[in-house]
Symmetry: C2
Subunit: 352 residues, 2 copies
Amino acid sequence: MRTEHEAAASLLVLGKGTVGSQLLALLADHEELRLVGVVDSRAVVLEDAGLDPRAATSTLAQAEPRPPDLGPVLDRIASNPVPILVDVTAAPGMDRLYLEAFRRGIHVVTANKKPLAGTYATWAALRETARAHRRAFRYETTVGAALPVVRTLQDLVRTGDRVHRIEGSLSGTLGYLSNELAGGSTLSDAVRRARDLGFTEPHPGDDLSGTDAARKAVILARELGHEVALADVEVAPFVPADVLGAEGDRLWDALRAADDVVRQRVEDEIGRGLVPRYLVRVEGGHLSVGPVAVPPSHPAAAVTGSASFVAFYTDRYAAHPLVVQGAGAGGLLTASGVFADVLAIAEGARWA
Amino acid sequence: MRTEHEAAASLLVLGKGTVGSQLLALLADHEELRLVGVVDSRAVVLEDAGLDPRAATSTLAQAEPRPPDLGPVLDRIASNPVPILVDVTAAPGMDRLYLEAFRRGIHVVTANKKPLAGTYATWAALRETARAHRRAFRYETTVGAALPVVRTLQDLVRTGDRVHRIEGSLSGTLGYLSNELAGGSTLSDAVRRARDLGFTEPHPGDDLSGTDAARKAVILARELGHEVALADVEVAPFVPADVLGAEGDRLWDALRAADDVVRQRVEDEIGRGLVPRYLVRVEGGHLSVGPVAVPPSHPAAAVTGSASFVAFYTDRYAAHPLVVQGAGAGGLLTASGVFADVLAIAEGARWA
């Protein structure tokens, strides 16, 4: 037990990976938020009086393994003040759990793109169930980590602005690779450097396919009311298609084999005064992600290194698009954004 | 009476100028928000059942003139669901009214910089009283209109990031003038064009002195915990000091007299490969506003026209600062930002 005064919010944290452990470290400095449970794929630890966030991971590791049955867990945390389910896993199928949470009066904060980029019916059910049960459903970190992207878009929409187009460089990895190519690097060297810097997944193909960026396009487009899903996104991968099929060491052979054709494309773009980028685009109901060459005056051209960027072109921002940019990936930034979502719910609950 | 179901929030709007009339137009499309009163300097109109926002301004104009005694007005609106005082005036001394509102359980949303950039004691009392009475106090539009600046900074601070430096181009007028000078215009031509485009106050000296930008520096620095006030800001005006003292037509003579020295400075900067800007800077407890020449790689260099821009340099955004930019001035954008603040309170109140 950490505190005797009433908690501003009570958290059940799902997942203890990179984001989860950073989130627990942030919670340790915040007395008003009570950690009432942690869950991973093998065990559950619950304590209504509050767990010490610093010790939660090791407590969980020592817990008796049992496949978590989360229905009773949700029942139990629902009776705590301002209960919030926090999903920092990357697991599929969590949407069913979110629906159960809303029905029990539990708020949901998630960093997990999958439930938000699944079928449109799933997404609509999540939004409608949260609304019907008057619960918060926040997922700022599913696009650009802690950068204010989702909330900014929601504010545009609900204050009645008309968003004509969204453009973003929303993958730290592909942003980095684009800048490396523009600087003269070969594709294979750039990917190897990105992997060594920890930017890519263990299998870099997951980044290079553009699927992750396509999920973000879906999440943004749905805020505009478009009834779209992943299959509606026109996806051009960052690399030639045959590279994506290559496994293990064969990936590096395939990347080297693609070096010349990519080099030629980039040199051609630079020769025409353009800057290579990998952009997410939402315009009307049309969603696309892929390599694009932009003029130096384009806001994406100024983005350096692995930074993310998003521009909203709207009626009210006709003269100058609303642009947000900065570091938009990584465990600490994602945990910070999740934490900000949690604090916003705790703040709102104080106003009652 | 516009609606029979319970309102999500009840608004008392102070001020019916450019921002106020745009706000009323936005409210007209939003059934859940009930306009329970409008106030200007000469009259008050109250209607617990809800006023038609489209007609509110003319109703106010027809109301019997009486100097508003706002204590009883606050008492009356306090009993409505989720009461919010919305200040879209630019009047001084409104802080006393906000304190009275908080004490009665009324939330406050303001676009008025003056109460936020007054004495530090006033600011601290506002924050503390809002907190003690568990009321929201939102003022996003006091810096950069509807751009997500204040909220973004608040999220950085309360999630435990350390903000080392804030830089911003936070005056639409001075941003425009900087870009005109960089493009070869003379000072006097640029100011005349800004006035003709409606960017400046009727007396352009109010913009050129830097006082408005200095207020924004104070508002941002206080979010970082710095106990500062306007007198602590090192202010270098946009124009030579003698221009600021000139009244009426003499202003234009004074501007023309300053053309050559300003031209010389800008040409010198451009010759050194730099870009002229007018920046707000907060670094540690040091606040400054003034003309600055930045290298082309600086994020402010890419800002075009009258757009605003702010960059946060923090521990977590060490590699890539968090940058927000876009149109950051004007009645409609300010009204939109006020509206978003109101909707955030209504949303939070639903979670109770």
